[in-house]
Amino acid sequence: MVSFDVQRIREDFPILKSKVNGYPLVFLDNGATSQKPRQVIDGIKYFYENINANPMRSIHHLAEKATEAYVEAREKAAKFINASPEEIVFVKNTTEAINLVSFALPFKHGERVATTYLEHHSNILPWLKLKENGLNVDFVDIDENFDLDIDYYKEMPAETKLVTVAHESNVTGTVNDVKKICSLAHSSDTLCLVDAAQSAPHIKIDVKDMGADFLAFSGHKMLGPLGIGVLYINKNVAPKLRTFMTGGEMIKSVKINKVEYADMPSFFEAGTQNVEGAYGLGLAIDYLNNIGLNNIESYEKGLMAHLYQASKTINGIDVYSGRSKKNGAIFAFNSKTLHPHDIAYLLDKKGIAIRSGFHCAQPFIEDKLHLEGAARASMYFYNTKEEMDSFVNGLKEIQVEYG
C-alpha cells in the first residue's frame, strides 16, 4: 500500500457506519476488542457455507478442506510473527495462553516467576495461583514514567525460572523493550514469556529477533473473531513441557497402560478446535499484511501526536499515558471531578465508546497510579484525526458542563 487511505479502509468495516445515540459511532475501545472488516465477516460465512467439517479426523472431501483451512491458518499465524507452524498453538485468547504455560511449565518448590507491575490480571493471577505449590512471584517495579526497572533483570534471584512481561501495557500503552528483557533473561538461563495482546495488532513482531520463548496474543484485538488466540512456544522449549488439557487429537496412541502424546502443536490442542476462529484469524492477518504493520504503526503515531496536541486544551483532566520511552495508541486519563464511569457514560451519549475502570490491572492502578480507576481511549488504524477531535471536544463539553 503506497499511501494510507483511512476513508477507504473504513469502508471495509460495516459497524463504523453505525449511529449511537444519534451521533456517528467513534469507537475508541480497541484495546478491549477491535472491529472486524467485511473480509473477515464474509469469510466466516463462507467457511460455514463451503468448508465446515471437523478437521484432522475424517478423510472425506469437506474434512480435507477444513483441515487445509486450519493448517493454512496456522501457517499464516506463524509467518505473522516469524515462527514455524509447529511453534503455533491455537488457544481461546491470551488469558488461556498464559494459563497454559503456567500449567505446562514444570516448576519446582521455591522457584520464582518475575512478572511486573504493568501487567493485566491475566499475567498476574496464573502465577499467584501457583504460590499454593510453593512458587514465589516477584513484581518488577516501574519508574514515574511507567518504564520498567530493566536493571532488575540483570541481577535476578538465581531461582527465577520465568520472566513474564507485557509487550505493551493495556493501561498506559507503555511499550517495553522485550528484546532486551528476553536477552537478559536468557543470560541467566531464565525463560521469557511475552504478552503481546496489546502489541500484536499494532507492531510488527518477529519472535526470533525478540528472543521470546513464549508469546501470546488474541485474535479479536486484531480484526479476527472472538475466541481464537495464539500461543507461540519456541521449539527448543516445547519438549520440556507437560500436557495442559488432554483428550481427542492430542495423542499418537492410547492404551490403558500407556499413552503416547502427539507432537507439537497438537500436543496442546485437545478436542475439536475453533476452526472457524482460526480461519477468520487467518483472514484478519491477510488484511493486516495487506495494509502493512509498519504503515499501521506510523499512521497511529501521527494520530496519537494529533490527539496529545489537541488534548492540551482540555481543562481538568490528568493524563497517564504517553510518557514512557515508547508508547502505543492508548490515551489513559481521568477527570479531576468525575468518576471514569461517568466520563465513559457521558461520552457514550455523544456516540464515543471508551473504557473505564480497573482495566484488569488493579495492582498497577491502585499501587502505582493511586487511583480507584481510569478512563482509556484506545485507537486503531481505522480511527481518524476527526474522531480524535470529536473525542477531545466531547471531553471539553463534559468538563464544562459537569466538571
Binding site: T337, L338, H339, P340, H341, D342, Y345, L346, K349, S356, G357, F358, Q362, I365, E366, L371, E372, G373, E401, Y402
Partner: protein, 125 residues
C-alpha cells in the same frame, strides 16, 4: 437514565447526604465493585429493632454514589427484615429513575447490597 437526570445529580454527587463515618454503630461492612474499582463502607446504627442512622464512606461514580446516599436515607426507620426484602425496583424508586442499563445495575445496587451484607454479617455471628 437520561442525561438531564445525570446533570441534576452532579451537585448532589459532589456533596452527598449521609456521607461520613458513624461514631457509634452496630454494623459496618465493606463492598467492592470489581469492574470499576469502587469500594464503599456502610455504617448502621440500630435502635428498637429499626435503623436509627446510616452513613457511607468511599468514592464511586454518580449512579453508585447517589444510590448509596439516597438508600442510606431511605432505610432509616426500617427493620433489617424489611431491608432484606428490597431489590432493584426499590432502588429505582429511591433514586428516581425508570431505567438503568444492564451494565450499570451493579452501580445502582452496590449501596443496597452493602447494607444488606452488613446486616447479614451480624445476624450470622
Amino acid at each position: 437514565m437520561d442525561e438531564e437526570k445525570y446533570y441534576e445529580f452532579v451537585d448532589l454527587y459532589k456533596n452527598p447526604d449521609h456521607k461520613g463515618k458513624l461514631k457509634d454503630f452496630d454494623f459496618k461492612t465493606e463492598e467492592y465493585s470489581s469492574s470499576c474499582g469502587d469500594v464503599f463502607t456502610v455504617y448502621l446504627k440500630l435502635e428498637n429493632g429499626k435503623i436509627k442512622d446510616a452513613t457511607f464512606e468511599g468514592n464511586g461514580c454518580i449512579i453508585s454514589t447517589i444510590s448509596i446516599s439516597k438508600t442510606c436515607g431511605d432505610i432509616i426507620g426500617k427493620t433489617p427484615k424489611e431491608i432484606q426484602k428490597m431489590g432493584l425496583g426499590e432502588v429505582k424508586k429511591i433514586v428516581g429513575v425508570d431505567e438503568i442499563s444492564l451494565s450499570r445495575i451493579k452501580c445502582a445496587t452496590i449501596g443496597l447490597d452493602t447494607i444488606k451484607k452488613a446486616l447479614r454479617n451480624d445476624s450470622s455471628e
